[in-house]
Symmetry: D2
Subunit: 139 residues, 4 copies
């Protein structure tokens, strides 16, 4: 299996706003919601590269998260504006690794994750090769 490193400088930024729906009774964002923000940013990075997840899904193709290593460094609060910073750190035949950070307006990192996403056939729920046009976008 060949591995292609992408240019770490090409970071994709996506803005997030914190609403009541995101917070919990502790007064800060409920921890699992950061995973949603990471996924929104990966989706928008794919969209910026011309990849529609709805079109993939109609071809029984989907990306599923296989592994995450996450540091929750500081809680975000209601009304905060955050940025999700994303880059692809590794590209394989059936999986993509993303490094992602959520930063506040001062650039302070609130949450950091390394995410492995695999391409699957959604009818068989089996790994399958990432389509070539996606591979070439990230190479």
């Amino acid at each position: 299996m060949t591995t292609t490193s992408t240019n770490e400088n090409s970071t994709f930024d996506w803005p997030i706003r914190i609403y009541y729906e995101d917070t919990d009774a502790g007064g800060i964002v409920y921890h699992s919601n950061y995973l949603k923000y990471f996924e929104r940013a990966r989706t928008e990075l794919l969209r910026a590269k011309g990849v529609s997840q709805q079109l993939l899904l109609e071809q029984q193709l989907g990306f599923v998260v296989k592994h995450m290593d996450i540091d929750f460094l500081q809680g975000a609060q209601l009304d905060q504006e955050l940025t999700v910073k994303t880059h692809v750190s590794q590209l394989k035949r059936v999986s993509l690794d993303f490094c992602q950070e959520i930063v506040n307006l001062d650039g302070k990192v609130l949450c950091r994750a390394v995410v492995r996403v695999a391409c699957i056939n959604t009818s068989k729920m089996k790994p399958t090769a990432i389509p070539n046009f996606i591979i070439s976008e990230f190479s």
Copy 2:
């Protein structure tokens, strides 16, 4: 279209526990989450009648909510034990009406809803007749 009234006395009770995931920064349950509890209770009422939503889905059948009228009377808090009380108030060829209440351990009503659910063909996203075996369970 014929309409069958079901016996209003046959109320189905389903327990709910409030976790951090359910609350928001105001210290109480985020309002849209009550709709999840109502849906869990409808699902469990159907299951108690022998209806599996996963089996329905494999036949391209699903129930979708068409209308809700909801009163949010008092906010539920972290750790509270609640009961969802459900009964079918009207049964038509393609839709079911449910009356649902969420009560605390003292029997106080925190949230109340009237919910219209329609049967659809999930591949065409069109209304379709409720299967006869479900109709007969609620008649």
Copy 3:
């Protein structure tokens, strides 16, 4: 209690994008999530008027939903771009009524709601007068 009708022409538009997190196994948006989009739009309308919910919360003031009447007309799908259209239809001393619609890019209405929101003291969980500077923004 005096009631002031606001100008129905002053509709506030807020864009929404549908992600995987929003959908369910039926292939469309899970019904309770529309309530989140309505709340995001009300929050942004308040923000556009200079009202910060985080600042209100620090003064033990919050807006809670008391009643909703919702029509779910058509299911939204993954990747869709929607607009939440919001206007204040009634303004009272302790409550605000909003009329809200979620429309797709063709202007078709997917979901429509009338929402009553009340101002509460979050430490006592009791209704309290809406602050004057908010009243004057909507009068």
Copy 4:
């Protein structure tokens, strides 16, 4: 800082049922929802030891997740019954480590996580010592 290993044999089991709210358009459970199930199980383990999170919160004490390492091995489906298996693997003065697995009725592991949870003062958002009565429950 002293570290106490707990008996790895004392595993706590908590049942989970999958509803529509948990799934996404790919037909399986949306990945961030597993974090909610892990948290429900940790809460119930604490409750079984006599610890109420609501009471802790009233004393400005809360547990926050600081780190998670998660393997998503196989997607869960609508209607499935799962068990969250939890044990405390390490106990320190301000943090607890949990090993958690989500298994189906055949005992197959669908998701596995190592979770570090820290005790904080919720008004200062600073780490604080875990109360002694909790420490003694897990020692």
